[in-house]
Amino acid sequence: MAEIVIRNLRKEFGAFTAVQGSSFTIRDGEFFMLLGPSGCGKTTTLRMIAGLELPTSGQILIDGEDVSQRPASQRDIAMVFQMFALYPHLNVRRNISYPLVSQGMPRAQVQAKVAEVARILGIESILDKPVGGLSGGDRQRVALGRAIVRQPKAFMMDEPLGALDAEFREHMSEELRALHDRMKATTVYVTHDQLEAMQMGDKIVVMNHGVVEQFGTPQDIYDHPATLFVADFIGSPSMNFLAFEGHAAAGATSVSLGDTAMALPELQEAATGSLVLGVRPEHVALSDASPYRGRVIATEYLGTTQIVTLTTAHGQIKARTAASQIAHPGETVGLALNPRTLSLFDATTGRALRTAANAGVHHG
């Protein structure tokens, strides 16, 4: 198992830059998520770590050793592809044993290893079947089997659940996470599904247009988004943004939103001009005592909670409240924002201002 360090990694395809100077560290045994919208360079980053694509510049260190320019076969990394890429001309057993045969392992030992992996994954009964007729879930398990049988330094998984239907995804993602917890293998997992990333990952890198926007634990990324992009991408419904013109002073504990002073964590830097106050829907409470007002335009009932959509002087806002809270469309109510969880962004750079709350958060 291994620690993987990525330093200023860059990849150009002709005139197009797919990855622009990424840096992050994947600790030994971590379940690490590469998250971002389609086309942001996740697969390219993963393929560079695996050695299927050579970086234009930058470094990849596996256990302190620079492997940036080494071919895939010399990196001792296993990969699960999105479409599984099981060898169609081989049966399940031979698919799983393929990586071992390449190392010249003796037959008896190969058989023992395959049997062990099959037991872990619960696929003993299909070992002698051709891979052609397998169900999606079984293909997934065989692909995993082929990856774990070799005990490589790290696993790369490119949207391994993407080909499965929603119900089964849930089940497989739990199985995957359980497998990881048992094996403690460094795993890099690509997904564009923010829920999947939040549920499964120890750490998340959020990418956009080839740029690392933020790198941290799911909690950090959810509570203290480093940029407007991350704030918008993570969470469902996503963070509310109240845009305003104004000034925020270093050391201040509130900003003026029109006539209302909004309390927030102590600011550690100043900004003037177009600012954006960000607040998660669950941190907006309907409270008649609050001076900040909004008019209810819709409610969406979700069982235990409801989403209330309101208009304010600074744009639309969604609040997640208890389902029992009464809110009628057309009504004007007071809105209380939980001060400890507010983020303040500079709209021109898209960056979150440093505060006492997000001081330890890594920017890309």
Binding site: G51, L52, A72, F81, A85, P88, H89, Y98, S102, R150
Partner: protein, 313 residues
């Protein structure tokens, strides 16, 4: 239901279809059947009028095909020991003696060496080139592919004279190597284009999985790409073999003594001692066999290959 909906075909239309297919089969197979049966006729039977459909079979044609003979006077025949094998018996009954084996066996072997040799070379070069075009960044890829295709745009015989002169200069005239190179040159464009289509259909992930599993690029090609391209390779090989096997014009022009193939040889049989139709028919029958056997052996792959990868995914 309207008359146009898809239903189980009626009895009548099944009959009509059956009759049409049978008719087509008869039309295409009749000449073949005639050739094969002529090969087993005697000389007089083969040219009798009206033509004989029922006849007593003889292997005279095959004996003539494989032997050179000369006429002998009755006195000469009388001095000879009685024939001790069926070949001498058949020949002497007609007042002839065998002077030696004919060159047919040699020509047939030439056809096999040149046909299969050029097919193998086209496939090896074609597969490697197609793989490179399919997977790597090749400078001027599109232009190169078009150039390769363009070599097939004129009939090969149009360049017969320059090739004739070049081959004489290079000492390739009338050599096996020369003919193998020539047929490979003609076939390679077809091979590259067909095989590139097949290899394009094989997802890259398979090879990448093999690379990550610790195989080198060439091992991945051999163990992962080749087995999956088997269909394409089989059908391409059949196309290449059919061309090289049947080629006549260059064979007449460039070969005579040493590397002559069967197609230019078979017509010469006719001139040896009158019009020996049974021997010609016997030669033609034997000539059909290798391609037929090769195609039957690869039939399973060919049928899958005809869909050009459409079955995958």
């Amino acid at each position: 239901m309207s008359a146009y909906s898809i239903t189980e075909p009626s009895k009548a239309s099944k009959w009509v279809a059956g009759i049409l297919v049978t008719l087509y089969m008869v039309i295409t197979l009749l000449p073949l059947a005639w050739i094969i049966s002529t090969g087993f006729k005697t000389g007089p039977d083969s040219i009798s009028y009206p033509p004989k459909v029922i006849f007593s079979p003889s292997i005279e044609g095959y004996v003539n095909l494989f032997t050179d003979r000369t006429r002998a006077t009755p006195e000469q025949l009388a001095t000879m020991p009685p024939p001790d094998n069926f070949v001498d018996e058949i020949v002497q009954r007609r007042g002839e003696v065998v002077t030696g084996p004919s060159r047919f066996g040699e020509r047939f072997l030439n056809s096999i060496i040149i046909g299969f040799g050029s097919t193998a070379l086209s496939i090896v070069l074609g597969t490697l080139a197609a793989y490179a075009f399919s997977r790597f960044k090749v400078p001027l890829k599109d232009d190169l592919l078009f150039f390769i295709l363009s070599t097939r745009m004129m009939p090969p015989i149009a360049v017969a004279i320059p090739i004739f002169l070049m081959y004489r200069q290079l000492g390739l005239s009338d050599t096996h190597l020369g003919m193998i190179l020539l047929y490979t040159g003609v076939n390679i464009s077809l091979a590259v284009w067909l095989l590139k289509g097949f290899i394009d259909e094989i997802p890259r992930e398979y090879e990448e999985a093999a690379l990550i599993d610790g195989y080198t690029r060439f091992q991945a090609f051999r163990k992962v790409v080749l087995p999956q391209a088997a269909t394409g390779i089989a059908s391409t090989a059949i196309f290449c073999l059919i061309f090289a096997w049947n080629e006549y014009a260059f064979a007449v022009l460039l070969t005579s003594g040493n590397a002559q193939t069967a197609p230019p040889f078979i017509p010469t049989i006719i001139g040896v001692g009158g019009q020996d139709w049974p021997a010609v028919a016997a030669g033609a029958t034997l000539f059909l066999l290798p391609v037929m056997i090769f195609t039957i052996l690869l039939r399973k792959h060919l049928l899958r290959g005809i869909t050009f990868g459409a079955v995958r995914k």
